[in-house]
Symmetry: C2
Subunit: 406 residues, 2 copies
Amino acid sequence: MELGDSGLTLAINAAMSAAGFLVCFNIIPKFKDMFIKANLFGVDMSKRTKSKIPESMGVICGAVYLIIMFLFIPVPFYKHLADNRKGNFPYHEYIEYLAALLSVCCMIFLGFADDVLNLKWRHKLLLPTMASLPLLTVYFVNFNSTTIIVPKPFRALFGFDLDLGVLYYVYMGMLAVFCTNAINILSGVNGLEVGQSWIICVSVLLHNFIELTGPQHQAHVFSIYFLMPFLGVCSALLCYNWYPSRVFVGDTFCYFAGMTFAVVAILAHFSKTMMLFFVPQVLNFLYSVPQLFRLVPCPRHRLPSYDPETDKVGMSYTKFKTSQLKPLGKVCIFIFKTLRVIDIKECIGENGDVTEVNNFTLNNFILKLCGPLHERTLVIILLSLQAIFSVVAFVIRYQVARLFYG
Amino acid sequence: MELGDSGLTLAINAAMSAAGFLVCFNIIPKFKDMFIKANLFGVDMSKRTKSKIPESMGVICGAVYLIIMFLFIPVPFYKHLADNRKGNFPYHEYIEYLAALLSVCCMIFLGFADDVLNLKWRHKLLLPTMASLPLLTVYFVNFNSTTIIVPKPFRALFGFDLDLGVLYYVYMGMLAVFCTNAINILSGVNGLEVGQSWIICVSVLLHNFIELTGPQHQAHVFSIYFLMPFLGVCSALLCYNWYPSRVFVGDTFCYFAGMTFAVVAILAHFSKTMMLFFVPQVLNFLYSVPQLFRLVPCPRHRLPSYDPETDKVGMSYTKFKTSQLKPLGKVCIFIFKTLRVIDIKECIGENGDVTEVNNFTLNNFILKLCGPLHERTLVIILLSLQAIFSVVAFVIRYQVARLFYG
């Protein structure tokens, strides 16, 4: 396929993405009451007013996204569809679209089920793994390239390239699970989930457009097809989710966004570059590990604590008996304390020593550095950080990578 | 592919279906509390006790079904997957599996969204149409056979065969919409939705197994792959949904079942035979038309009315001012009255004439013929009717069809 061909289909995709934005922008307010009536609402814990805010609105974006993609996928194949008799339909390409949509659709479904039912952690890990299976099968039959180029410093050890074999599939499966959950745990402040997804999406699109002239043209066109409509629906949601939020996005949106990124990273072969755009999420995940794996007690919500008098948010804490801490938890706290990345208070209570540490989230870490902030300021700092990391990612991808890979 | 090959994969599919049954049978009771806590419950209006019964339990079957299918779909391709280097992977077959699963997954998602949010009719028609698009695209590239053989009596008029062109796609799209909604509207009595799906599924499987030795071997193997796991999860649900219901199945199950049938009918090319198994649903739909299209007032629930004293269910009625009836509504009522298929009471009220007719459902029609019945008796009659129509369908398919098609 030549660039001229993709030009037209990209334009159609862009137009449909714009339509997706408009549709979402128009219908989201109309669905508010329906969601509240269905018991899908939350109260914003960081606001003075305690009104009902509709929750899981990401499901509308997800449904609109699926419809756009269903209508769009015949478009890139229009020549072959019009000329079917020759029997040269590019099945191997079409199959990637279907597998990608199947995984995304599955995750929207799972996310919505999670919002409604409050699923357990084992479901949250099992189901994305299952949902990525069709994707991995397609990767297997279409590419099955499990060889990675070894970075220069390690070539003495491993040679020029290394066949990871089945490990590469484990890596991709884990990528899907990571992406879907990583956005979900960097949350708790108005506009953060959608904002970070928006920045990641724009960054990846920029990367795709830069690479359009390169040898992997077709893969990046594929990625753009999936990400522009995502950007459309995501932008509409951001308008309503930005501080002060009139709608909440729910796990539905986080899973939907995460799986969309995982899908394009896997099928368009830029999972390493994608990870560069996920650095804040990776940092937040690593910082969160002691609480996620319950080595340190983890409250149900870890969002910053709100002070109605100053209208600012500050660090939130978890409090527990020091003696109840597991050995591994002690090690984690010792490491974090030494690295000075946590705020810790140890005091002698009536029934033994009590430890109080801030919840291990990037939000709290920023608040530890800056002191209490207005919620909007905190979001802007966090999103700026995300944008800065994107710039760094581009520098690494296009400059530093040369040093390592030549 | 030879029968020996399919033999092994069919056995694996059967084993996985049995596993699906066991998993569903075990986990459905465990999820009860989670559903009730999430506000997903109903009170059985045809029982003396008014306890909370978890609703939308079909979503568990749907999720288990998807997991089974994700794990199963590589199996029929195991030879090709093991022998990937030759590049002869049967993409055109694999693509059917993905498109089918995509449509089913979409409908499970839509069904669950409908259960939670109570969607409007326009969504219920729009979304299945969209969900069937990938299916139709695959049909287009794989077969694009829009020619039907004309039955003998009409051959003088149309010739031996007739190319329906784009109309054939409209027909298939409508088939998907019909199947997903037809099961949903033949409901309201414990065990009816799952029971009818179970009977249709067994009938279609029987048809598939009979046809295994025929020229369409591969298509019927495909259908069996999708229907045996469905039968597994459906059987488990039936155990809990049978009178007296301990769980309700929700729109989720009806859409899931309907789309699974539509998918195999379209991709395995036996939509006419499928319709033969749907005769009770077609009759119920035709009978319901005046109420579905709001020509005659339609209450929110049309289930039979319960008499706690006798523990029996009788006909339920809709009551309205005769003058408010639309002209088309009057025509419908006149026709049904002439055909003696409705029970009608006309009386003179204070503010003008009032008409009372039974709700237009197959359930009410049976109750009109038999008088009030115990709920379990009514279900057994309805399901026996479904089974009898299946037998008739086989006679038509294998005996009468010869007369018409030679």
